[in-house]
Every structure is written in structure tokens, then in C-alpha cells.
Amino acid sequence: MAESICRALRDGALQGEHAPALTIKDSIASPFGFHVFTHLLTQLSSNILAAKSQSRGLVLVAFSRSPSFYLDLLNRKGIDVASSQKWIEILDCYTDPLGWKDALLASENGGSLSNEASTGASLCRNVKDMDKLYSSIIELGKGIVGQGKVRFCVAIDSVNEILRHASISSVAGLLSNLRSNDRVSSIFWLSHSDLHEDRVTAVLEYMSSMVASIEPLNQSANGRRCNWESLPLLEHNYWKGRFHVRFKRRNGRVRVMSEEFHVEQSAINFRSISSEDEIVNRSLLPKVQFNLQLSEKEQIDRAKVVLPFEHQGTGKPIQIYDGRRSLTDGKSETEPVSTGILQTNENSSKGEIIYLRDSDDERPDSDEDPDDDLDI
């Protein structure tokens, strides 16, 4: 399912449609959104390098990690970054997002430049300006793919950081501008959902055609914090979680799929919700003395039982007693009742119901309607 996301991002946008957009959201109880983000980033990068994707380039807007971190990461995953100038551009909103370093440098008129500048990433010194951010992303993208019709992907590693400096409406404007730009093939971003009000998360989800949410295996009672008391369990389950993906189709159809993930050695692995759990569940069913289900023979026998008052329709016309007159076939019934045994049918191969009267005080069963005198 993580694969179907990758495929959707790889296949890109149709002519005259918005680019597919993905929100990755997590919370502090299971903060592995970044792992998912890097996983998708590497998958998409290898697709781009292998020319399997619609897009020919990737613009990474780096807020939460330095550009060199990403280059290292891609290198470690065996993706050729040496030719990175051709297919990946990183917009560095990490090193100096508010221009503090610039201001300090200007005021001191000296000092050393930060090492980050040497990575060749373009620096953004004012992330509060959404228009500028938008135009620099588009510029970088066009720088990779040229002026033709070729498209590029956009990845934003933290929407929360933009939201700290700008209002939700302007961020929504930025994202939807990017989505509707005809040069953008697909776009994905990461958001920590517990840092903002629910409506902010909702806005982001409305603008995305896919939402991948990361949830812990067992929600703790207080919701927000991990429950440190149950530590052994926590330690076992902290690195695992559930991964839900919601796809929204063009026609409005919504499909939700779930998977499990497991984080180990800084990589994230996905697998379908394990049959392992089902087996555990089955074996957890208590072993009881009685049967919960019927055997085949029991089912046949059960089907044969003729319930009292059930119309048999054995050749005779079915008469529904309407409470005004006594049934004509009273004979076969009244006789056995007087002996205390009700036998609905002589054929013994059929099921039967045996009725014993407790005492003579009890009035024999009769079909007489107690409300006989009423004209209902």
C-alpha cells in the first residue's frame, strides 16, 4: 500500500487535473512520519532516476533537516546524488529560515559563513513570504526540467514549520497553487497533526488526494502521551504501528487501506496487517466445554423439528386462525394433549417436540384465543 502511494506519486497528474497530493500525518505517540517521508522520497527518487516516473525532477523543500542530511541519506540508499544537479534541487529553509544569520553577519561584517552554504542548495532567508516561497520552488523546478512540458515533483518535509510563520490560509494558498501548477507532477508533505488545531489538519487533508496517517498500535488512554507505566509493552510496540491510507478518487470514491509498519535501523518496513495477529486471536479464544457451533448432523436434525403452531402445509390448505372459529383439524391435536403428550406428526423419522404437563392444574394448551370475545 505504501507501494500504491509510490505508484500514484510516480504516475503523476493527468492533463487538466490537479497533481496528486499526499499528506503524511503522525502524532507524538508514533512519530515516524519522517521515516515514511524519507521512504517515499527515496522510492520516488529512484523512480525518477530510472525514468519510470512522469516527472523528471524533484524539488525538496527542507525545513526540518539540513540539505546535506538528505544528500547523505540518498547516498546511503544507493541513489546517485553526484548527478544531483540534474534531477534534485533542495530549497534550504533549514539553515536560515528567518534571516537571523544574515542579519548577524551583516551587523558584524565578518564571521564565517556556515558550512551548509557549500552544498549548493538554494537558501531561503524568509519563509514568511509565501509568494516568494512559491516562486522559488517553481523556479527551481523549471531549472531542472527546462521550459518544455516536462513536470517535476515537490516534497515538503514539514508543513508545521511553515504554519508557525504563516497563517493557514496563506499556506493553503501555497499548496493549492503548487498543486494546480501545470508543471507539477505530484506533491507530498509531512505534518505532525498534534501541533495544530484539528481544522488545520482537516484543511491539509481536503487539499490532498491521499492521506497517510501513522498511528500507534495501541492508543494510550490519555491519547497524547505514551503511557510510560506499561513500559515493557511500550518498548515492544513503540517502533511498530498502523499505517492507514485514504485514497480519494476523482469521482469522489474514497478507499481506506491499512498496513502495519515496523521501524528498525532507521528504515521503515511495511507489511500487510499480519495473519500472525489473527492466529494469535484465534488461539486466544477460550476452550469451552460446550459447542458454539452445530455439527452437520445436528443442523439437519434441527431443520427437521416442527415447531408448534407452524403451518405444515401437508397437502391441506393452510388455515390461519383468525380467532373467530376453532380450527377444523383440532382432532389430531386435542387427543394427544389429553394424554399429556403432544405429537405433531406420527412419522417418527421427523423431529418431535415432547411436552409434559406439569400438573393437572395447568390448563391444557388450547388454541382458544383469550381475547375471543373481542372484535379485533
Binding site: I28, P31, L195, E197, W228, Y238, S266
Partner: protein, 261 residues
């Protein structure tokens, strides 16, 4: 004194290093220390301070932003632990920024300018130390909530400040150690500040009282969440540790729950 057996805290932080060959394992990492009013986490700070200034490597530098205590306080505590801060300060290994009485000028711009200036100071120390080939730099903030107070409660700027300090960790391989109090945010429904810090942190240390209440020979428990331990081969692992501690006059005893004789 220094050759004592590594304790559980060191193990949890990955500080155990027999050959003293590996680089400082906390380098390029953000350590967040959360404590509560019943259990102060200051002793962890002192421990990290002592480790960072250990006599084995004279290349280590500590930049200390003190919002909560004066220098003499730390000097006394660390002397008990066998570390002379005054001497280290004279050796230019311990940079103490006394921000006890600091108050940034009122107004939005004033707060921002104060924090920018403070960041500038830190950056200057870090860059000069880096150029002097002192590669192992630790920035300590004690404590973050008082920094927020000094900045007149402008959470956003304080977070910006933290972000900028973090850029130093990736650019110069510094480690950043921040102390904050967990319980002062407990009534807020969405405590964005502490959550932001937890997202930022690579290592989260929580000092909490025992769930069962007070005890004479156990002073509390520490939970260490180490998000990624990467060794030289590039492989990494994650772990969570939990153990009890007892603060003594000149050191702290760490032990697993129930193992105390």
C-alpha cells in the same frame, strides 16, 4: 574517580566507550531532558556537563546558557562530582552565559532582537572554537521555560531560537542539551511547545517520580528514549530504557527496578 564502571545512564545514552576512540556520541544530536516538580532532572544535566568536560579530551567545549542558577551554584555541584568549572572557564572550555537577570526589551521586536543577539553570541563561540579545532561542542540550556519567561512568553521566537541552535548541531556537530519542565504544560490541551521540542529531540530523557509514590532509597525513575543510535558502520538501532535512581551527595546511583539490594 573517573574510571568508575559506566552506569545505566551512560549506557542508555550510548556514552560507554572503553577505548575512548569514538567521537562524542552525542554530537549532532539534540537531547531533551524533561523533569517534574517532584523530581528535578538537574542531576542529569550535571552528569552530562561533567562528561562533556571530562579530562580525557581537551578539545571539548561547553556553552552554558544559565537562566535558572548562578555560576557559583554549578561550580559547587560540579566540584562535588570532581570537575572544576572555574578552571575550565579559565581554560576557555566552559563558556558560561549568565542570563539570570536577563530580560529582553519589551515588545515583539525587542524579544526577537534579544534572542537573535543571544544566538549570535552562541554562534560566535561555536565558530571560533570550531576554528581552534575544538570540534566537540555542547550547548546546554538550563532551563527552557525560564528562557520563555525571559522572552516575555513569545513561544514562537523561543522555538525559532531553538531551531537556529539546532542548525549549529548539523553544521558543526555540536550537541544541544535542553532542560524543560513537563508538568507546567500539563493543563494545556495542545502543548505545542513541548511537543515541538519532543519532535526535535533525538534523545528524550524523562525524570519522573515513582508511580507508586515516595520511597526513601529510590528518588525517582528515568526513562531514556534514544531514537537512533548510529555507530561507525552506519548501522543504527533504537531503544527505550527505564531505570530508577538515587541522588547522593557526590554522584547518582542508577539501578534497574527491583535490583537494589
Amino acid at each position: 574517580m573517573d574510571q568508575r564502571a559506566p552506569n545505566l545512564l551512560d549506557e542508555a545514552l550510548g556514552l560507554v566507550d572503553e577505548e575512548k576512540t569514538k567521537p562524542w556520541p552525542l554530537s549532532s544530536r539534540v537531547v531533551l531532558l524533561e523533569d517534574r516538580v517532584e523530581t528535578s532532572g538537574a542531576f542529569v544535566l550535571h552528569h552530562l556537563l561533567k562528561r562533556a568536560l571530562s579530562p580525557h579530551s581537551s578539545n571539548d567545549v561547553v556553552v552554558f546558557l544559565a537562566f535558572s542558577q548562578p555560576f557559583s551554584h554549578y561550580d559547587r555541584v560540579l566540584r562535588k562530582l570532581g570537575c572544576n568549572l572555574t578552571a575550565q572557564r579559565e581554560n576557555n572550555r566552559f563558556f558560561f552565559l549568565d542570563l539570570l537577570m536577563s530580560e529582553f526589551p519589551d515588545g515583539d521586536e525587542g524579544n526577537k532582537d534579544g534572542l537573535v543577539a543571544l544566538y549570535g553570541k552562541i554562534e560566535k563561540v561555536v565558530t571560533t572554537s570550531f576554528q581552534e579545532n575544538k570540534k566537540c561542542i555542547t550547548i546546554v540550556i538550563d532551563d527552557f521555560s525560564l528562557m520563555e519567561v525571559a522572552a516575555n512568553g513569545s513561544t514562537n521566537y523561543v522555538l525559532d531560537f531553538l531551531r537556529y541552535c539546532r542548525t549549529l548541531t548539523s553544521a558543526f556537530g555540536c550537541s544541544l542539551v535542553v532542560l524543560n519542565h513537563e508538568d507546567i504544560y500539563s493543563s494545556i490541551e495542545r502543548p505545542a511547545l513541548i511537543l515541538q521540542m519532543e519532535y526535535l529531540a533525538d534523545i528524550l530523557i524523562k525524570a519522573e517520580p515513582l508511580a507508586t509514590g515516595l520511597a526513601t532509597d529510590v528518588h525517582g525513575q528515568l526513562t531514556v528514549l534514544n531514537k537512533e543510535i548510529r555507530d561507525e558502520q552506519g548501522s543504527s538501532r533504537n531503544k527505550i530504557c527505564n531505570f530508577h535512581f538515587r541522588v547522593k551527595e557526590n554522584g547518582v546511583e542508577y539501578f534497574y527496578p527491583g535490583s537494589k539490594t
